[in-house]
């Protein structure tokens, strides 16, 4: 057979390998900082750029997309050319892939630290970068499929099945999850609301783990492990079975991230059972890897590369066993929101992704440079330090998680929370947080040791950028199945067919779960009381997103007595219909905030409390590990996008267009009226600022802290007010009301006034915390109707008093009205308009 001559592109592999090393070090360093910040909050440095809420997403993105992303490309570009016996389809696409990816990483680092984020975990990057990712990713896929088409080999090898599935699935997931409407260059709102957003997000988030951290690394394993071990792959049939079952089942398992949260039961059940069914297919990969080493185990003792692979594959097996277990609802009830999840992902990340990458690089670099590894001993040292670091990182976190979750759930003998103070459960695990930081340091030190070893290896050799290779051309074979050919063997030589089957396999799970969530009304029962955010609250919410508060605080109360006692009523689907994006979070380093605006609840804190707390959390609670946010007090909130934000929200179905009269921000032409928006913003902000000023704080209404307080006071507010109203409606009607027929008693009114109103308005209505009621000025109107309205519905910081019977209210209104013009002594300065 004639041999064709061609050249492997080694240069692109080298570039990706260097990028992997560089970003690996950066990503781990950022991780180390994040871990240290939890142990020592002063390391947040009081700067917006360096607070945990921004550092943590940078760490996850840097490790997932920069470190392992470049590792995937390194492995794929090296192995695909050799497995398909051809150069990559297009050098231009290879370069677009490389440089595009590095630009994305750079932009990610800048934007995430600047607080430009969508807050969707592992998809935090804003829309322009999302588009860039899609372009670069498609150029990778295009390059891959082009290479497949011009291949010289008849059948495509299992490693490439996995690379293909990764490309197809990540493209679908990334695009599906990133559908958002831009507000500005740096801000967008996702089209999905609340529960839908949660389902789409974890369909993405879970499968980013599947198709970015798992399948490409199985591809890497299937090439580099048999190569390094010089052993044939244990079972071809196992490859087929576990490949298809894995990619099909993975896509259904996303809802296990939302167990016991405000998600319909059927979706939770699907999340549970598909996670359980995922166990065997995942272990198929581990077993095929470990059994391939049969006959090579003696060499594991000496070879650092094989050690990395063995521990990497074993770590994969451990996390894929732990994953299904964590998806059982009883286990999840304990594990979710704790450091258990963090330990779990680091077994996967440090063990599987990290060690497979290190093993691959130690094998690959000497071959690229036609030399031997500079020091096998140093590589072995790296392995042992890394393994020790991984254990020292994860074991304390498991311990911390068990400790904390048991403390959260413990009741006293009389049935009350044993640790009502959330902070106690944090203080308890601080030693574990310190130890795991040390573990991270060891793991990092191992990776740092790798650098001089690689540099010296590179220096001792010489790379051939375009390596000569020979292979016979691909034989033309009948398109149809040949006699004796298994169906799978048949599609292995039909790359496009194969790709289509992969697409079908991965798309089903997502469609079955997401479409009903969006189209079937009963999945998200409406709650009448739930109202949209005011412009001020919306801006406050965007600050919450900007600062990455979701990295430490959840906003969803699960239906457990230990949570409803601590936080208040559990969360319902209908509460989140105006949330673009949802903010449930996935970790409780601090307490849940879903009820921080629940009037009369355990989580409600007055504005002044938040004011002091954000400024210096350690002053409020000495042992708190929350960072301070001093810039909230200096920054004037940038309202330049406010109009556009309201417009986008209207497009997304939020009733700012008059459907909710109290939230009507449009003019008669149906366009957003910026004056209405600004007026609503300012009047609400001024009330909060006033309250703070009255307590002696020097703050103006336009600062960020005001919006933040307004937002926190919105969470759970609507349903708490509805509860109070319902309570009042259920109280037996006072018989006297009807008999009295409009007659009022000023004496009775005075009594009510003295016990309910005097604390804020003074015994004679002279004012205090509240305005003077005895002068001839009014803020909200002086008619009986207006007074009645203010009492019943509240105004500004004045809470609504819905507890009065009709008679009581009438008496109180009459008495209040009678105060006007009495000009009591020591009267507060007039506020509002003069009464004519």
């Amino acid at each position: 057979m004639t041999q064709e001559k061609f050249y492997y592109d080694n240069k692109i592999v080298k570039l990706f390998a260097y990028a992997t090393l560089f970003w690996g070090i950066v990503g781990m360093l950022v991780g180390l900082l994040a871990a240290a910040q939890i142990a020592f909050p002063s390391l947040n440095f009081g700067l917006s750029f360096t607070t945990f809420g921004r550092v943590r997403p940078l760490h996850t993105n840097a490790i997932i997309f920069a470190f392992t992303g470049n590792a995937i490309f390194t492995g794929a570009y090296y192995s695909m050319q050799r497995l398909l016996k051809t150069r990559m389809f297009s050098d231009t696409l290879s370069k677009v892939n490389f440089w595009g990816w590095q630009i994305i990483i750079l932009l990610a680092a800048i934007t995430l630290l600047s607080g430009i984020t969508t807050s969707k975990e592992y998809a935090e990057l804003e829309w322009p970068i999302d588009i860039l990712i899609a372009i670069v990713w498609v150029s990778f896929g295009w390059n891959m499929i082009g290479t497949l088409i011009k291949r010289r080999v008849q059948h495509i090898y299992v490693a490439i099945w996995f690379f293909l599935a990764s490309f197809v699935a990540v493209a679908v997931l990334h695009i599906g999850n990133s559908i958002e409407i831009p507000v500005s260059m740096f801000k967008s709102y996702t089209v999905y609301a609340g529960v839908q957003d949660a389902v789409v997000q974890w369909w993405y988030g879970h499968n980013a783990v599947a198709f970015f951290l798992t399948t490409p690394f199985l591809g890497i394993m299937y090439y580099f492990l048999p190569k390094a071990a010089n052993r044939p792959v244990y079972s071809y049939r196992l490859s087929i079975v576990h490949f298809w079952s894995l990619i099909f089942i993975y896509m259904w398992a996303g809802p296990h991230h939302l167990l016991y949260q405000a998600l319909p039961d059927w979706a939770q059940t699907l999340g549970v059972i598909f996670s359980i069914m995922l166990l065997a297919p995942s272990w198929g990969g581990m077993m095929n890897g470990l059994l391939t080493l049969r006959g090579a185990w003696d060499r594991v003792r000496d070879s650092a590369i094989l050690k990395f692979f063995v521990v990497g594959v074993t770590a994969y097996g451990m996390s894929t066993f732990e994953g299904p277990m964590l998806s059982l609802k009883t286990v999840n009830a304990l594990s979710h929101f704790t450091d258990w999840t963090i330990a779990h992902v680091h077994i996967g990340g440090m063990g599987w992704n990290g060690f497979m990458t290190f093993g691959m690089l130690y094998w690959l670099i000497p071959r690229l440079f036609n030399t031997k590894l500079h020091s096998e001993k140093a590589a072995n040292m790296h392995f042992w330090i890394g393994t020790f670091g991984m254990l020292l990182y994860s074991v304390p976190l498991y311990w911390a998680a068990f400790t904390q979750t048991l403390m959260w759930k413990e009741f006293t003998d009389s049935g009350f929370l044993a640790y009502p103070d959330f902070l106690d459960t944090v203080t308890q695990i601080m030693p574990m947080y310190i130890t795991r930081t040390l573990g991270g340091l060891f793991y990092f030190a191992g990776a740092v040791m790798m650098i001089p070893n690689i540099v010296k290896t590179v220096k001792s050799g010489h790379i051939i950028n375009n390596e000569e290779a020979y292979a016979p051309p691909r034989e033309k074979v009948a398109k149809k199945r040949i006699a004796g050919e298994t169906p799978h063997r048949w599609i292995e030589r039909k790359a496009v067919h194969f790709t289509v089957w992969v697409l079908i396999a991965i798309i089903i799970g997502g469609l079955v779960e997401i479409i009903p969530m969006i189209t079937v009304k009963s999945n998200i029962p409406t709650i009448e009381a739930v109202k949209p955010y005011t412009p001020l609250e919306l801006e406050g919410r965007d600050i919450y997103i900007r600062e990455g508060c979701y990295t430490c605080h959840s906003q969803v109360v699960r239906p457990f007595r230990s949570e409803t006692e601590r936080y208040g009523e559990y969360s319902k689907q209908g509460e989140f219909v105006y949330d673009h994006p949802y903010q449930w979070g996935s970790k409780r380093t601090g307490p849940d905030l879903a009820r921080s605006g629940y009037r009369g609840g355990t989580m409600f804190r007055p504005a002044i409390w938040h004011y002091e707390h954000f400024l210096n959390p350690q002053k409020t609670f000495e042992k708190s590990i929350m960072p301070a946010y001093p810039w909230f007090y200096e920054n004037v909130l940038d309202r330049s996008d406010l109009k556009r934000k309201i417009e986008v929200m209207i497009t997304l179905g939020v009733p700012y267009d008059g459907a909710e009269p109290d939230y009507n921000y449009v003019n008669e032409n149906g366009e957003v009226d910026i004056n209405k928006v600004e007026e609503a913003y300012k009047s609400q902000a001024e009330e909060i600022a006033k309250e703070l000023q009255d307590m002696g704080k020097d703050i103006t209404w336009d600062k960020e802290i005001i919006a933040m307080i307004a937002y926190l006071h919105k969470l759970g507010k609507d349903i708490s007010l509805a509860k109070l109203a319902e309570k009042k409606a259920n109280e037996p009607k006072n018989e006297v009301v009807e008999n009295n027929n409009g007659e009022v008693s000023l004496d009775a009114g005075a009594t009510i006034f003295s016990s309910n109103c005097a604390a804020c308005h003074g015994q004679k209505g002279e004012g205090g915390m509240g305005p003077n009621l005895g002068d001839k000025f009014t803020i909200h109107g002086a008619t009986n109707e207006a007074i009645k309205n203010v009492i019943s519905n509240g105004a500004g910081i004045m809470p609504p008093y819905k507890k009065f019977t009709e008679t009581e209210l009438a008496n109180l209104v009459a008495y209040t009205s009678s105060l006007i013009g009495t000009n009591p002594a020591n009267g507060k300065d007039p506020e509002g308009d003069e009464i004519k």
């Binding site: 196992l238 549970v272 166990l279 239906p559």
Partner: protein, 179 residues
């Protein structure tokens, strides 16, 4: 050591002798060969078991309605708690102020942890009102103070019901007696 490129043909010689029959002749990818081993049977059984378990799980909860789903489970938990703890729930109207030194000491501990941030270390007030003076916005009876701590108020006082009735009574007594 593992660093020289080896010719794949040589590598398999020894192995081929042992597993000759299992080597798939036409499977050669850049020197990587594949064996025709079946998947480990225990792994396949594990897979079948998880599938059967899943069907059972689905049927148990959604077709036969045998299991308690989220809301039913919560209701059940509440019932159980009501049963278990019913003796100790306190009636606000009939509670009496505590005077025993140990109760007041416990009250003081709780005060230091939960109340100081707003009411000051000596009850002088701050974020929240002064607790030392004779003015009581919500009343000065033990039941009033107890109620305020337990249920919070409309003006911003947080509900501390998660402290538990006994501790609330102790801290209420401490506030009234000692501040």
């Amino acid at each position: 050591m593992e660093n020289k490129n080896t010719d794949p043909k040589e590598v398999y010689t020894e192995y081929n002798e042992k597993f000759d029959k299992k080597l798939m002749i036409d499977h050669d990818y850049d020197g990587i060969k594949e064996l025709d081993n079946p998947p480990p049977p225990w792994l396949m059984w594990l897979f079948y078991f998880t599938v059967i378990w899943s069907v059972w799980y689905l049927a148990w909860f959604h077709w036969f309605d045998m299991g308690r789903l989220q809301e039913a489970d919560y209701a059940h938990e509440l019932e159980e708690a009501a049963e278990k703890y019913k003796v100790t729930a306190m009636d606000e109207e009939t509670i009496n102020i505590l005077t025993a030194e140990e109760d007041l000491n416990r009250g003081s501990e709780i005060y230091k942890k939960s109340c100081v941030a707003c009411h000051g270390d000596a009850g002088q007030g701050g974020i929240g009102p002064n607790l030392k003076d004779a003015d009581w916005i919500y009343g000065s009876e033990i039941k009033d103070v107890f109620g305020v701590i337990k249920n919070g108020t409309d003006k911003g006082m947080t509900s501390f019901k998660s402290l538990g009735d006994e501790d609330i009574l102790k801290v209420s007594s401490y506030v009234l007696k000692k501040l």
